[in-house]
């Protein structure tokens, strides 16, 4: 029996092998969305916990990595939903001094206030420049829907910044 099939049948050794193989990929993917390495570690464990719980619904013919990435995206969005919008960014993920600390802070605040689904797409598409097809696969939506969310995120960001007295 192949590894994914053994995993689907609840074999813990197979789960460990898949965990070790994919933990790095899942972690890096989550960091891109939540932009916090500490939270990304917790969410990596959460993601694999969810995969383990859903193992019986996993189709071994599918690619485990893609399935895990989709679950990771949902876990990251759940986290963004529950995280306080004003949480501080880890230092090394905060931007350089330009365009000025106040403006920078306003942009970060506006970004953190975006609804979780839009924030996730904005982080992947606008900041990380992840290909649309990759984002669509991870969210389980069409490329068109990703572009719509990106568009809505930009509009909403502009609106929020305007309210803060900025006209980007």
């Amino acid at each position: 029996m192949e590894l994914p099939e053994r995993f689907a049948h609840g074999d813990l050794d197979a789960f460990e092998a898949l965990f070790r193989q994919f933990q790095g990929d899942v972690y890096r993917w989550i960091v891109r969305i939540v932009r916090d390495p500490g939270a990304a570690e917790d969410l990596t464990v959460e993601t694999f916990w969810r995969t383990y719980r859903a193992r019986s619904s996993f189709d071994p013919a599918r690619e485990f990595g893609a399935w895990a990435r989709r679950i990771a995206t949902n876990a990251a969005i759940d986290y963004l939903r529950s995280a306080r919008p004003m949480q501080e960014l880890p230092r090394h993920l905060a931007g350089p001094a330009a365009p000025g600390p106040e403006i920078q802070e306003a942009i970060q605040r506006a970004f953190r206030q975006l609804p979780a689904r839009l924030q996730a797409v904005a982080a992947m598409a606008l900041i990380e420049e992840t290909p649309y097809a990759e984002i669509a696969a991870a969210l389980g939506i069409s490329v068109g829907a990703v572009k719509t969310r990106e568009f809505r995120a930009v509009r909403l960001l502009r609106k929020k910044l305007k309210r803060m007295g900025m006209e980007p």
């Binding site: 460990e16 965990f19 070790r20 933990q23 790095g24 972690y27 890096r28 960091v31 891109r32 932009r35 390495p37 990304a40 570690e41 990596t44 464990v45 694999f48 916990w49 383990y52 960014l89 090394h92 993920l93 905060a94 931007g95 350089p96 330009a98 365009p99 403006i103 920078q104 802070e105 942009i107 970060q108 970004f111 904005a122 982080a123 606008l126 900041i127 990380e128 420049e129 572009k147 990106e150 568009f151 930009v154 960001l157 502009r158 910044l161 980007p168």
Partner: protein
Amino acid sequence: MTEPNDENLRKLLRMALPPSPETRLERDLWPRMLQRLDQAPAGLSRLDWALAALLPVWFFLFPNAIPGLLYHL
């Protein structure tokens, strides 16, 4: 879909929130995963909670159902 203004906003956004550096996972998370598996609460699902929340409403709307339910418990 992208206007020149949007491009400006993108640039500002990337300056305020630069792309995350290619971060590597610094530790093996398997020990934490094992801990999580050990804790594994029997946990109630959302459906369980939803059904539990519906019970008082059901009893309020159909008080006659209470004896029937108690009989079957």
